[in-house]
């Protein structure tokens, strides 16, 4: 009857408290006597938790005419693999789909899919156009509600079908999670072949799922730390082109290479600013390393730190207002955040061990890092003020995190000991539960995630 008490209206007059209480009590008694609860008494329930179970989704093969039926299955397979790797979806086994995949212009029989416990369904079709192009369309259905959630169609050249599949996977991801996807992206990395003491390191690029590998350098020079330009098909990296390492720019489409700046000492750890107009990096002189920013248009350089320590691995916040970097000015390698003009550096890492390779999330809410402590390398994240530190994975050697463009997943490389060991690419999401190896042709290190391709 508690609800009944609450619902008794007490006139807000100047009546004394006792009088009001009396009235309330009388009202409550009256209600009790009537034995009736007001119709407005709704049972209230607070649900303060939920699961992080992946969403069951059914993705039957896309309908396709005759010779393209294999392609229809392949498109569905690429979408399935993308969504599954995100850790947020649990694609159902296609062999359980008794219902023939319905064409995207028909409403599916939701009852058939409900039996399989699917919560979402993707139907699609591909067809060749008269001009030779491929038309792909899909619809995403909410099975419980029996409604279409989204639907799109695309035209592309037939050999571009994987990209279309990734774009569809992004659309599904965005519609169901509320966040931007990251499947239509590429990874630039250092491909490593040959024996451990004589590795050939080539710059390479591939789709985020490991397909379509291309090599960008021949392997004559040692290459390290490639980084994507957030706004164009351009990469910056460090290479031992001559006697000492230098920072270069490379246009992926044309293969054109250019030296960044003309400094007396060695330059390393380059990274683009969020707008792609600047490169920020370290310059070593007299045993110290300081951080410089260079404007790519005007070619002017600005010195941002000036002290007798090694400052390196700078990374801009997505709004370009601040920079996180690592420095040994306090005795060990730790993370610091300063203004974009080098002002007011503040140490943010205070855990056990040393911290390195900080990278600011594209969402701005977190900074990823490598931590070395107790003989183990760990990949973790913390807030820009240093609070909320979380270790996502730890082991013999994990290093060099790079963010997916939506700030939900990190890719890094993991090395294994032994003569036959070598680095491999791995990805892990922010929950720390979904860890996957990223397929690469051979050993691979130093991954850098591209922005969404437009």
């Amino acid at each position: 009857m508690a609800a009944a008490f609450i619902s008794v209206p007490v006139p807000p007059t100047a009546m004394g408290r006792s009088v009001r209480r009396l009235v309330a009590a009388c009202g409550a008694l009256l209600l009790l006597a009537l034995g009736a609860v007001p119709a407005s008494a709704v049972l209230k329930l607070d649900v303060t938790g939920g699961t992080v179970q992946p969403l069951p989704i059914a993705i039957p093969a896309f309908a396709a005419g005759g010779a393209d039926s294999q392609l229809g299955a392949d498109v569905a397979q690429v979408i399935t693999a993308d969504l599954k790797r995100s850790g947020l979806f649990a694609p159902l086994d296609p062999s359980t789909f008794s219902a023939a995949a319905s064409a995207p212009d028909q409403t599916p029989r939701f009852g058939d899919w409900r039996i399989l416990n699917a919560q979402a369904l993707v139907t699609g079709a591909i067809a060749r156009q008269a001009d030779g192009r491929l038309r792909a369309e899909f619809r995403l259905w909410d099975i419980f509600a029996g409604q279409q959630m989204t639907g799109q169609q695309f035209f592309t050249s037939p050999d571009n079908w994987r990209r279309v599949a990734h774009i569809i996977a992004d659309a599904i991801y965005e519609r169901l999670t509320g966040e931007k996807g990251y499947f239509d992206t590429r990874i630039v990395f250092v491909d490593e072949t040959g024996p451990k003491d004589k590795r050939v390191k080539r710059l390479a690029i591939m789709d985020q799922d490991g397909a379509n590998v291309r090599y960008l350098t021949r392997g004559n020079d040692l290459v390290l730390t490639p980084r994507f330009n957030p706004s164009s098909q351009e990469v910056t990296y460090m290479s031992y082109g001559g006697d000492q390492p230098r920072v270069y720019l490379l246009n992926i489409e044309t293969g054109q290479r250019e030296l960044v700046g003309n400094f007396p000492g060695m330059t390393f750890a380059p990274r683009f600013s969020p707008d792609g107009q600047k490169v920020i990096m370290s310059l070593q002189q007299d045993g110290n390393a300081n951080i410089y920013a260079m404007d790519l248009r005007s070619r002017t350089t600005t010195r941002l730190t000036n002290d007798a320590s090694i400052d390196t691995s700078p990374s801009y916040a997505p709004d370009s207002s601040r920079i996180v970097f690592e420095s040994d000015r306090g005795g060990t390698q730790q993370l610091y955040v300063m203004g974009a003009d080098g002002s007011n550096p503040q140490r943010i890492s205070f855990g056990k061990g040393s911290y390195s390779t900080p990278v600011w999330s594209p969402r701005g809410d977190l900074i990823a890092f490598t931590r070395f402590s107790g003989g183990q390398f760990a990949i973790g994240v913390m807030k820009p003020d240093g609070s909320g530190e979380r270790i996502l994975t730890e082991g013999f050697h994990n290093e060099g995190p790079t963010w997916s463009p939506n700030g939900r997943v990190l890719m890094f490389f993991r090395d294994t000991p032994g003569a036959n060991g070598g680095p491999q690419l791995w990805s892990i999401d922010l929950t720390g539960y979904n860890e996957f190896r990223v397929p690469a042709p051979s050993f691979a290190s130093d991954p850098a995630w591209s922005p969404l391709i437009n």
Binding site: V47, T48, V52, F144, G178
Partner: protein, 333 residues
């Protein structure tokens, strides 16, 4: 060495001798028998949540109740004419005013007219045969008079249904009666208009009886009981069981960093069998990235959890539930 050995042998012999003498007379270790006490866990609400009794209610004889119920099913066909008249009257009396109904019923059914006069008395005798609900029918008659006020809404329907559903008589629940009425009316109305023959009426009664029998909710006045108390409240443990179930069904959007980004309030209406009645209604949804996705995930959870297995006798409490999904436990930030 020698002496040591002899001493040892001597002492051992003494020990053995002592054992032979004393051990047999020792008390045996009999475990005492402890009687086990059976323990049952019951819900306190089962004991404390009682119906309020009414003095006017007659004592229920369960045996009586059962018999009539059986008869009902069989009776309809053979004695249609005879039984029908009585039932009609019963209803009418309780059912508020004959005035409003009078016009409609009279023309089609001649019986209606004669009945008016003998309402209260006749019902008592007649009720037993026709009533679908065993115990209820007989009693209602006696109580009938008081309830009238609440039942006014279903005036017209009452006539037709009267025979079948003595239920309307009951007092407590205002919402229920109307529902049935509506259903019952649909089939019955047309027939009335067409013919007033007794055969048709019999057919009507046959149809309606099954529906009447399923209605257990509209109970006549009783002296109190542990079931069908419209005011019965869900207990704390029942609520936490429901909460745990909802949390298991809710797959939260995973990207959020603070619980406020997902806070969604949804209102659901349930049928008595625990299934959802109608669309879940979003009362409050968050703003920002998850403005669309969070409510969708909540609706999915609510649908996924259905049907809800909740105590039927407390349906009055959970027929409508307002759930607030706010994952403070998972995302305290």
């Amino acid at each position: 060495m020698r002496t040591g050995l002899t001493v040892s042998v001597f002492l051992h012999l003494i020990l053995v001798a002592w054992g032979i003498v004393t051990l047999p007379s020792m008390r045996s270790f009999d475990p005492s028998q402890i009687e086990s006490v059976p323990v049952d866990f019951i819900q306190i609400a089962d004991v404390t949540d009682l119906d309020k009794g009414q003095k006017t209610a007659p004592l229920l004889a369960e045996k009586v109740a059962e018999k009539p119920a059986e008869k009902i099913a069989e009776t309809p066909p053979p004695p249609p004419p005879a039984p029908e008249p009585p039932p009609v009257p019963e209803v009418k009396p309780p059912a508020p005013e004959p005035v409003a109904e009078a016009p409609a019923p009279v023309p089609p059914e001649p019986k209606a007219e004669p009945e008016p006069p003998p309402p209260p008395p006749e019902p008592v005798s007649a009720p037993e045969p026709p009533p679908p609900e065993p115990a209820p029918p007989p009693q209602p008659a006696a109580e009938a008079p008081p309830p009238p006020p609440p039942s006014p809404p279903p005036p017209e329907p009452v006539k037709v249904e009267a025979p079948k559903t003595p239920a309307p008589v009951p007092r407590p629940r205002p919402p229920r009666p109307p529902v049935r009425v509506a259903e019952a009316q649909v089939p019955s109305q047309p027939k009335k208009a067409d013919d007033s023959s007794s055969d048709d009426l019999a057919a009507l009664i046959d149809k309606s009886e099954p529906t009447g029998s399923t209605n257990t909710t509209d109970a006549p006045a009783t002296l109190g009981g542990r079931t069908s108390n419209p005011d019965a409240k869900m207990t704390a443990d029942e609520m936490s069981a429901l909460r745990a179930r909802m949390e298991g069904c809710w797959s939260m959007p995973s990207g959020a960093t603070s619980h406020t980004e997902l806070r969604t309030v949804v209102r659901i209406a349930l049928n008595e069998d625990g299934s959802l009645s109608g669309m879940p209604e979003i009362v409050e949804s968050p703003s920002g990235t998850y403005a669309v996705v969070a409510p969708e995930s909540v609706v999915r959870a609510v649908r996924r959890c259905a049907p809800y297995n909740l105590p039927v006798e407390k349906y009055g409490d959970w027929r409508e539930i307002e759930m607030t999904f706010d994952p403070v436990d998972k995302l305290p930030g």
